[in-house]
């Protein structure tokens, strides 16, 4: 097979890095999708439920806001450990890559919710007003105005969430989640193999760059606000 490390690393290590990269991508992709599925409606609700808004429910908005803030202020590594019983309940086990997806999702959802809330709040209130004047229902306003108009901002928000998840996923070695971060710590730090550490960091940098570039590109395509 083509040697990705140009002979700098033993083939066995290269295989480990490839495996770890796949694990990382798997964890980030699955928790990103699940986090979005939970975070999107949550974010929409947070953005539309204050007093006088489309789905005005100030109390629920306040309570959810507190929960989201609490989840977001818990350091990720503590969250991982603290929700182990929940993880076991959901994933059937508390260790391994699949188990790691649970805390990643739990951390991603409130983060994504806040990002989506911010993206939706950026939509000009005048558009909501125009849609109401047309006779749109609150759900139609969300589906036809808020989400489509916020889509470029939502794309950037999800890009940011994916990049953050790449970082978080480095910590799930603590529950045997595997992935690049885990590899870097075990080989690079515990076994004094700085070249593995360097390789892991380089792969992560490439992944982050790739995700960000792709996200920026899509967002720019979706944005029709500038003439070009």
């Amino acid at each position: 097979m083509f040697d990705l490390s140009f002979g700098l690393l033993p083939p066995a290590i290269v295989d480990l890095i490839i495996d770890a990269t796949q694990q990382t991508l798997y964890m980030v992709a699955v928790s990103g999708v699940l986090g979005t599925l939970a975070g999107l409606p949550l974010g929409v609700f947070l953005a539309t439920s204050r007093k006088g808004e489309l789905f005005a429910a100030p109390l629920a908005n306040h309570v959810l806001g507190l929960v989201v803030n609490a989840a977001r202020s818990t350091p990720f590594i503590i969250l991982v450990v603290a929700i182990i019983p929940f993880t076991r309940l959901v994933a059937g086990t508390s260790i391994g890559t699949n188990a790691a997806i649970v805390p990643l999702t739990v951390a991603a959802a409130p983060f994504i919710a806040r990002l989506i809330e911010a993206a939706i709040r950026e939509v000009d209130q005048g558009l909501v007003e125009a849609a109401r004047a047309m006779g749109a229902s609150p759900l139609q306003i969300v589906a036809k105005v808020l989400l489509p108009e916020a889509l470029p901002a939502i794309t950037l928000a999800l890009t940011l969430a994916a990049v953050s998840l790449l970082g978080y996923s480095a910590m799930v070695g603590a529950v045997g989640g595997g992935g690049l971060g885990d590899l870097g710590i075990r080989f690079g730090y515990q076994r004094f193999m700085p070249e593995v550490m360097a390789a892991v960091v380089i792969v992560l940098i490439l992944l982050v760059q790739g995700v960000q570039t792709l996200g920026d590109l899509i967002a720019r395509r979706l944005d029709k606000r500038s003439r070009s």
Partner: protein, 374 residues
């Protein structure tokens, strides 16, 4: 073009009354405000803001009624009551007999489809093309795709934007955006169009084009238009009737021509004075003194509301009274299709001359007002 007026008292003709579009004065009201008040609870305190008080106003079917007022006068609040974006605190607002203030949300949504609205900042969706923006209210109303196409295209044609159908708002000029806004407002075939400062973000020429378009849809579709503005020029250009709002109350209301010819309220006069031709040239205004004095000339404003040419009147006044009448400024305009002139003149400032001139002018049923002395 017009016969000169003869100034002998027995021959003085009464200028024909302003043509008031009689059909329209008789038209039934389609929007009615009945003793409407709107009170807002001010944010973060118990204080209340009375945005509107005791509003009683009828908008005749097929008319363009303009509401003019300063910032904060309550214009937006007034117009938003019509489609239920705001609810009246007391009183009733009805559209075509339907009591808007009594509808629940669902019924209100259905009713809003017969009330179009356009906005100062257009409020177009940035990620929809012109076509898709116009299609939005139809999508919301659940109109099938094929029918949407058949309805949007004639609308783009009507507003003169067929060639821009696939352009995004960012690729359109302000005037073009407002045309899309108008097409969108008309998509559900409303009976009433509400316009909240629709030309305030546009330059004067574009403003005129948009106002002409409003006139066109008003007459071609027999659409009633309620528009709000802070510019008398807009009222002058399109409104059949005008209501002046100040501090949440309607202080004057009537046919545009009558209000221009004989404004009753100070607020109305001050709006009128902002129109070119209605106010004094600034250098003269600066020198103007309120009281007469030896050697000062009196400055008069004479308003012509008939179809009579102005010059013979002045020259005859001048000849018969043997006074020098000096024309400072003259403008003849058209309001609601009838000629309307304002002439500012100066005459010698002694009390006898001034009262003779004013008397002579008033005997012609034209109005003369002493603005001051220079």
């Amino acid at each position: 073009m017009n016969a000169p007026l003869i100034l002998s008292a027995d021959q003085v003709q009464t200028p024909s009354p302003a043509p008031l579009a009689p059909a329209q004065a008789a038209a039934r009201p389609i929007i009615r405000f009945e003793k409407v008040a709107k009170i807002f609870a001010a944010r973060g305190s118990n204080a209340q803001v009375a945005a509107l008080s005791d509003i009683t106003l009828d908008v005749p079917e097929g008319a363009i009624l303009g509401v003019i007022g300063r910032s904060g006068a309550g214009k937006s609040t007034l117009i938003r009551l019509v489609n239920g974006l705001e609810r009246a605190t007391s009183g009733r607002v009805t559209v075509d007999g339907v009591d808007i203030s009594a509808l629940d949300e669902k019924a209100l949504r259905a009713e809003r489809r017969s009330i179009g609205m356009i906005f100062q900042h257009f409020n177009l969706l940035a990620r929809r093309t012109a076509f898709d923006n116009v299609a939005l209210p139809l999508e919301i109303a659940g109109v099938p795709r094929r029918e949407i196409k058949a309805r949007v295209e004639p609308l783009l044609e009507l507003v003169g934007l067929s060639d821009k159908r696939d352009r995004y708002p960012a690729e359109l000029s302000g005037g073009q955006k407002q045309r899309v806004g108008i097409a969108r407002a008309l998509a559900t075939r409303p009976r009433v169009l509400l316009s909240d400062e629709a030309t305030s973000a546009l330059d004067p020429e574009t403003t005129n084009q948009i106002l002409a378009l409003l006139r066109k849809v008003n007459s071609e579709l027999n659409l009633t238009v309620l528009l709000i503005t802070h510019e008398m020029a807009v009222i002058k250009a399109v409104a059949d009737r005008v209501a002046v709002i100040d501090g949440g109350r309607i202080v004057e209301e009537g046919a545009t021509y009558d209000v221009f010819a004989a404004p009753q309220h100070a607020t109305t006069r001050s709006f009128l004075s902002a129109l070119t031709g209605q106010s004094l040239p600034p250098e003269l205004a600066d020198r103007l003194k309120p009281e007469p004095a030896e050697g000062r000339d009196a400055v008069l404003r004479i308003v012509f509301t008939g179809t009579h040419a102005s010059d013979p009147v002045l020259s005859r006044v001048s000849r018969l009274l043997s006074v020098d009448v000096n024309i400072i400024q003259a403008q003849v305009d058209e309001i609601a299709g009838a000629p309307f002139g304002v002439i500012i003149v100066s005459v010698p400032g002694d009390a006898a001359t001034v009262s003779a001139v004013v008397g002579a002018v008033e005997r012609l049923h034209l109005s003369a007002e002493v603005l001051g002395y220079v």
